[in-house]
Structure formats: structure tokens, C-alpha cells
Symmetry: C2
Subunit: 247 residues, 2 copies
Amino acid sequence: MSGFSPVERTSVATAVFDQIAARILDGTLPVGERLPAERALTEEFGVNRQALREALQRLDQLGLVEIRHGGATRVRDFRRTAGLDLLPRLFLGADGGIDATTVRSVMEMRTAIGADASSLAAGRASAEVRAALHDVLADLESLVTDGGADDTAGLAAIDVRFWDLLIEGSGNVCYRLSVNVLRDAYRPVEALVDLLVMDERRDVAAHRDLIAAVEAGDGERARARAVALLDQGRAAVLAHFSEEERG
Amino acid sequence: MSGFSPVERTSVATAVFDQIAARILDGTLPVGERLPAERALTEEFGVNRQALREALQRLDQLGLVEIRHGGATRVRDFRRTAGLDLLPRLFLGADGGIDATTVRSVMEMRTAIGADASSLAAGRASAEVRAALHDVLADLESLVTDGGADDTAGLAAIDVRFWDLLIEGSGNVCYRLSVNVLRDAYRPVEALVDLLVMDERRDVAAHRDLIAAVEAGDGERARARAVALLDQGRAAVLAHFSEEERG
DNA sequence: CGAAGAAACTGGTCGGACCAGTTGACGTGT
DNA sequence: ACACGTCAACTGGTCCGACCAGTTTCTTCG
């Protein structure tokens, strides 16, 4: 049988958080607006004050509201105060669909970070990282040649290993953390994107060229080849979403 | 008189949060370690469970711990699970000093994002943004020529306006959010960095060239000029911190 | 020995009381 | 009429103790 999906067990605090966050992100709660007092919100949501406060704390940490002891809790301008961790919540627009602008932004940032990380890795990657890169390349080659070129899950796993190594090799902690967020953000569209970027992921030659540039310590060449590689997926994803917009 | 500084009024929850976060970030609490039960922690910290829970919720949201209903709360591998919002907390190393690696990472990311945003802005910036860029450039010129070339605060303010416009012109929400974090992160070293990047900020010609490239819609030239501009500050900051390391 | 079940954990929710800042209205004095 | 101090009525912050809801562990029985 099957066809069922896991029941979502969200805590009360999370439920409250989600509701308020959605209202702020879609503009229903305008910037500067003061939220009702906590005691009033507890009645409105029908939850205890503890749960309500946990939700507000998280909203504050994300940069969506500003809590002031004694004063009111106000909606902040998240475009100015929120951090990249907000990204996963921006994917779903007001209509519940995927926000094409956010997708485009993510693909652009992916390219920018991947390219710069590759360039940096060319100058910094340790022998261990370089050896591991060769292993990943070998795995990719064998997967593709052994008829696994349509194995989206296998390709995705190798892709993660490949870029994790380059990011680690770059020695840049910002990139490391940003990648975590980008990956988190694209999870809701994972199945679709895995299909769209398949051509990029199974392009063995492009991966080999990139590793060669890193190996040679040629940062600029590594950057160029990373851009070439990552632009494949970007173009594919962009084409899909801009087409969807027109249709 | 003066010489005083504002008293820090931290909430109990924040104090708990800070202590645990510091322990996780400096490795005192190893990855996978299970935290004591909430009721045990309340006694250890001498605070109420509500405050304790608010702190734990925030740690969870940052990706530092994983809370599971019924199970234990465990320390996560923040390098894998935390987002860019963690960055401001990475600046202060175990010894209380500034972490040079983090500073270097931020300067690198600043260049990467600034360059790509400039390139994108060249193709997308609206007439309003371009006009505003000219205004900022005019303000920079007048400030520098009127003897304000040593006005760090004035230069910093113009710098913020300049890059905010380019980021907005790029239409990339990821960059917008990332910049918020980067700015937040560099706040503890603000005074120092403002001095180090002064040469970059008062380089009127470089700013003018960049705007011209954006105006011409030449993405690649805009990118190159942004890199040239941003690399000035990066080099200065890097020189300072690597020198400090040796000394 | 293995599996069902009970007990002892864990975090999650509740309610109500009180502490601590902020705000603004209301007098009071000039 | 105006400026100022005061106070009451907000706001969020902290505490307590109880109970609900999952997980883990150990016991017990087949």
C-alpha cells in the first residue's frame, strides 16, 4: 500500500512561531507594527505563556521581531535585520508555491561561493583533502560508467562530498556555514532540483578539470572551472523556474 | 568626565545561552555529548526552567544542540549544522581575543559577495538605484575633498549606503541577508577595521569606476572593479592580523 | 533467550504568582 | 501656560510546582 506520509508532530511553540513568522514574511504584519502583549497572544493562540515566549524568542533571534523589556514587541524589517538563516523560510511565498526569486538568488550564491572556495582551495587544500577529492572523482566516474548516471540519490551524495571537500579545503568558515544554510533551504525542492542539476553532477570531465586546477594550485583556473561547472545547474534551474512563471 | 560605558543588562536566559554556546564553540562540550537534563541544569545555573528552556531553544535554532522530546539534548557539530548566523559568535576565540581565521573568512566572503552583486547589479539595477549610487558618489567626493578624509564615521556611513545600493541592485536576497550577518559579525572589531579599510573607502576613483561599469551594464567589468576595490581593505586587514599573529 | 510491559528517565505544556523595566497620564509647582 | 516629578498602568522577565508526552531502560514472563 503506502502513499501515506509521516504525521507532523510540531510543538506548540513551533506552531506559534510558524504562524507569526508567516505573517511577518508575507507583509500582513507590517514593519514597526507592535505585536499584542504576550498575555493577549496566549489567549489568541490558546497556548501557555511559556510556549508563546519560546516562539517570540526564536523570532527575535531570527531578526523578525524586536523584544524590549517593559516596552512592546515590534516587527522588524527582516530585509535589514535578518541573517542568512532566514533563507529556508523565504522559499515558500504567500501563495504557498516556490518563490522563483529566492531560488535564483540561491543558485547565484551557490556559484559565487563555490567559485571563490575553489580558488582558495587551490592555494590551501591539504594533501588529505586533495586525496579525498580524487577518491570522490573516482567514485563519480565509476557510478556514471556503470550505468548509474540516472541515480539521482547517488549523484547527489557524491555532489555533497565533492563540494564539502572544496569548502573545507578553502579554509573559509563563512562558506562552510553558508553552505549549510543553502542546503537546508533547498530541501523543500530537493526532488525537483536533483533532477534539474543532474547534467551538472554527472559531468565527469568538468569535475576532473576543476580538481586538476586545484591540484596545480592555479586559483584563477579553478575559479573559472568552478563557474563553468556550477553555471550548468544554475542555467537549468533558472530555465525551469522562469518558464514556470510565464506558463 | 565620561569614560564610562553602558551597563550590560543581560537577561538570565541570554546569560545561560552565552555560557553553553561558549562551551560548545571552544570544544569543552564535545560533539555528541549529552547535556544534563533541564531540571539538573536549572540547579547548576541557579535559574528557573523557563529561562533555561528559552536558552536551549535558541541553541537549537542556531544549530548548536539538538533537542528531542523524551530523549536527551545533544551537542551538534556546528560546522555541519549551524548557519551563517553563528558567525558573530565565532569572532571571539577561546582566549578572548579576535580569531584571525574568522576575520580572514569574512573579508574573503565580503569580496566574493560584493563582486558578484556588482556584476548582477550591472544587469539589473533600476534607474532609482543608479541615481542613488551617483548621489552617494557625490557625497563621498565632497567629504574627501572637504578634508573629511579622516572622518572614519562619515566614511563608514557612506560605505554602508554604497554597498547597500549595490546589493539591492543585484536583486539577490541571499546577499542582502548575508551582508546583514557580516556587518553584525564585524561589530566587535568595528573601530579597528574602520581604520584599516579607510584607504579603500576614500578611494573615490575606484568607486567611480565601479559605478561607471554598473551604469554601462558591463557585468564583468563591474566584477573586476569591485574585486579591485574590496581587495584593498582585505589586504589591509589581513596584513594587520597576520602580523599580530607573528608578534 | 527473547519479547512484552512496567518504571524511570527525558523534554513539553500548563497556570498563576510576582519581579522589573517603560510609558504616559496626572497632578503640582513655578 | 508650561516644566517637572510622581505614580499608576502598562509592557516583558522570572519564578514555582504540577502534570502531559514521548524515550529509554530494566524487569519480568513466556
